[in-house]
Symmetry: C2
Subunit: 172 residues, 2 copies
DNA sequence: CCTTATATTTCGTTCGAACGAACTAAATAA
DNA sequence: TTATTTAGTTCGTTCGAACGAAATATAAGG
């Protein structure tokens, strides 16, 4: 890792040195990726005929691999009755399945439907192909660097999300 | 640019060589960023009390700077009556304003409310601070590389989105 | 001027998501 | 065993977003 920004010699105030330029470029690129991701996810979900909530829950299930319905209630902020509805819709479309928890038969475990466990649908194919092609233009070392940055950026964005959730809602 | 993936010597099939490893890592990082972005946007919009549609239209308006209502109808796929509703809600919350087009007084131009024209709200502060700190760990050259990759990735994701939109919806 | 086309809004309706309350089933405590 | 708590579902209601049709206002053509 390079030294921290604080220790770096500052170009004269106001004038945009190379550092300011590149920081701005990274910020813009991040925003562009973010917007693109939101649009892409939106298109994917509408293509599956899923509302935003259903899509979100499906994401939670896929991330977890196997979760109880109650856990989804906790993580999503929805009420139990609503989760039941979401799961009904997703199950009806064959995107996940409910399994009785044999250890505690009150519980219902939810899992991605067979075939969607890991990656997602073949709808991703178009994006994955394009990104693979992009990677072809970079060396392993360069990709390591890029991946490291993106991993950290994602982690921090989740942090920022949690921070937002933690604050009390402004006013309604 | 490095040579394309096709020309690269393949490690024996099945065994994950360093190339496979790093490609996988990039893919995972991309997915992590994507998910984080979706969650962050979701939290931001719910924090502003906006539905997904309102948030999307607001994004279109901010991207365009100034658009007519009809143009939003075209770009969003919503019906005119719905756009009117969206704009009512956004305007009531002070996030944008309607201005009569003096050149053609049938039209209504929509603009981001003063103070939200460029970047977005101060809600972004937490995220921006974290990302700036992250950038502090990298040199200018490294950040140029990262930014270039992310710009291209975003462009390709938009392409993939357009491709999805172009295809006929599967079945309903 | 009068007709027709375009841009947006108004109104009333429809549809689905989220909810509270009541209910069933299973685990746990007494 | 019986009582109590926990997990999830069912049912009926509410609320808002998206819509079609009709209304309004402005522009453009004959």
């Amino acid at each position: 890792m390079a030294d921290s920004a604080e220790g770096r010699p500052e170009p004269e105030e106001g004038a945009a040195g190379p550092r300011e330029g590149v920081l701005h470029r990274v910020a813009e690129a991040g925003r562009a990726m973010s917007d693109a991701a939101v649009l892409y996810h939106g298109e994917l979900s509408s293509r599956l005929g899923l509302g935003a909530t259903d899509w979100k829950i499906l994401g939670l299930v896929q991330a977890a691999g196997s979760v109880s319905a109650g856990e989804l209630v906790r993580r999503s902020g929805l009420k139990p009755a609503s989760i039941t509805g979401v799961l009904d819709r997703l199950e009806r479309r064959g995107l996940l399945r409910r399994v009785r928890d044999e250890a505690d038969r009150r519980r219902v475990l939810v899992e991605p439907a067979p075939g969607l466990e890991d990656g997602r649908v073949e709808l991703f194919e178009g994006l994955l192909r394009r990104l693979a092609e992009l990677c072809g233009h970079y060396t392993d070392a360069e990709l390591e660097l890029v991946a490291g940055f993106m991993e950290e950026a994602a982690r921090r964005q989740l942090e920022a999300t949690a921070e937002l959730q933690g604050q009390e809602p402004p006013e309604r």
